[in-house]
Amino acid sequence: MTTNVTVHRGELVTPTIMRWRRMFFMLPGMAWISAFLAIPCLALVIVAFAQRGSFGEVEWTFSIENLRRLAGYDLFGWSPDNLRILARSLWVALISTVLCIALSYPLAFFLASRPQKTRGIWMTALLIPFWTNLVIRTYAWLLVLAPGLPVAKFLSFLGLIPEGFPAYPSEPAVWIGMVSAFLPFVALPLYTAVEKLDWALVEASQDLYANRWRTFWTAIWPQTLPGVSVGATLTLVPAMGMFVVPDMLGGARYMLVGNLIEQQFGSARDWPFGAMVSIALMMLTLATLMIVGRKGKGAAR
């Protein structure tokens, strides 16, 4: 009898057994993903090409009307509003990510240099805000930026806002809200990378006559890149779709794609168009991640 019995981690198995075993263990995960990810995504695509009925119901006549609307064409001709919202969302997400990385960098080094005993305390301090809901945290920013308080006073002293006004709604206020929402998502992976940093490379660079700048870019930055890219992904993706922060700190006229989607599924009761915008957001996020990822890899080489 020829059996292709092999030893896998000290156990006698055949390929058939392994195949069945793999299937068995994959099943729950696969079921979950298809039930709650694949099917809804498919539904989203289908709905995106349907129409809004007169009472806000989904009318099953299919066309590319929603795509045209997204591109800015409607009854009154072309307007750049929707495209502008998408571009602005991308811009704000990128700015927030860059700010988060810039702020997390020194933070990660600070955390990694704390003695083991007190490091836990600093970590907790970083995470305490997350014990509170995002909406409440954003409300807190409204208070911090309120008129008559130091931030607003300082800005009006600089002539950036009129006397007696709050420091919101404004784009920088949205950045502040975004950064405070996402900072730990960058700081923690970055801290992990910094903790594992091989300082011998830094010393080698110094030994080979490099100045600080060169040492940073060749001996430190490439080593932290895994942390940076995890952090950037964890920030960029939710930041693209964020609607709480821009809604509260950006004002009524300052709309990001998250707000647009929320509006379609909410007050406008236009699910098909909301679905189309959601798909656009997914595509945009995916494209951005791919470009950023490739750039990151290029920098590491």
Binding site: E203, A204, S205, Q206, L208, A219
Partner: protein, 340 residues
């Protein structure tokens, strides 16, 4: 002398890593700092590299004080214990790193780097990444990366600790040949006495932050000054002795004449195990003993005698446990230890 270290000290908190190190190292010398872990040898090397500052004392190179000169301004280069190659750069880029830091043009830097790679016999490996190479090859890249800068002094931090025993022997020979060809000053740190003896002109044996003995390899090996040095270099015969004349001592094995003056009333002597000769017949001045344990080592055999001596002898005569022997050694082989 080329490199002068004067009264260097370095503490880490309550730990005295270095206490008053004075050392002179000549141009073109292969100098080795030898000692057990924690003796301060690596700290001393890091002070030379400019990666640490001493608490006090000075380092002078050709009469110029370089104690506080940062690492990137010293023409000293280091081969790190872990090699510390830049993982995202290929071999050629790694080797050219120091040249680029100093503003060499691309063509010039790469040509010099190729020459350095040829020197360490790595031509053809230019485009490999460090993780695609073996430990021995990586070590040679690290060597080329340091040497391409034509340093005044090359520092080597346990350069062979990551290599297997056989490769280590080869690399020792290569390193010695390379140094003699280039005539660059090499300063190496190691805890392996065999390695130190093989490659060095002079060695300094370190213990607990001080230099226990410094001198040409043969001198240190043949005439260790203290029990620590003798022990570290593999002597295992320590004999208690009492002074009974200007140049003679009384031991449990008899009265011995020495070649040097006895500086103490009571102290100890040492004899290297391979300096003791054995014979079956009685020899004048010899000590009678019997073999307690005989170990065959291939090229030689190790005999442990019932009087506590360890003898290493050639394997021509097959000594067995229980054999009666007569041991003798010349007065030159008796070394007076200067412990306090």
């Amino acid at each position: 002398m080329d490199l002068e270290l004067e009264a260097l000290t370095k503490n880490y908190g309550a730990v005295q890593a270095l206490r008053t190190i004075d050392l002179s190292i000549g141009a073109g010398e292969f100098f080795t700092l030898l000692g057990p872990s924690g003796c301060g040898k690596t700290t001393l090397l890091r002070l030379l590299a400019g990666l640490e500052l001493p608490d006090s004392g000075t380092i002078q190179m050709l009469g110029q004080d370089i104690t506080h000169l940062p690492a990137n301004q010293r023409s000293f280069n280091t081969v790190f214990q872990s090699y510390a190659l830049f993982p995202h750069m290929n071999v050629l880029e790694n080797v050219a790193y120091g040249l680029f830091s100093r503003g060499y043009g691309k063509t010039d830097a790469y040509n010099r780097s190729r020459d350095a790679l040829e020197l360490v016999r790595l031509t053809g490996f230019e485009n490999r990444l460090p993780h695609q190479m073996s430990g021995g090859q990586r070590q040679r890249v690290a060597l080329a990366r340091a040497l391409v800068n034509e340093p005044q002094v090359l520092l080597l931090d346990e350069p062979m600790s990551a290599l297997d025993a056989k490769l280590r022997m080869e690399v020792q020979v290569e390193l010695r040949q390379l140094q003699q060809r280039l005539k660059t000053t090499f300063i190496m740190v190691t805890h392996d006495q065999q390695e130190a003896l093989t490659v060095s002109d002079r060695i300094a044996v370190m213990n607990k932050g001080v230099i226990a003995q410094c001198g040409p390899v043969r001198e240190v090996f043949d005439r260790p000054a203290t029990k620590f040095v003798a022990d570290f270099l593999g002597t295992e015969n320590f004999i208690e002795a009492e002074r009974c004349g200007e140049r003679s001592v009384r031991t449990a094995l008899g009265v011995w004449e020495l070649r040097e003056e006895v500086p103490w009333e009571k102290g100890s002597l040492t004899i290297r195990p391979e300096k003791i000769q054995l014979s079956e017949a009685d020899v004048p001045g010899g000590w009678h003993a019997s073999v307690q344990t005989a170990l065959y080592k291939g090229g030689y055999q190790v005999l442990l005698l019932d009087n506590g001596l360890r003898v290493e002898t050639d394997a021509l005569h097959n000594w067995k446990t229980g054999d009666e022997v007569h041991a003798v050694c010349s007065p030159d082989a008796l070394v007076v230890l200067h412990d306090d």
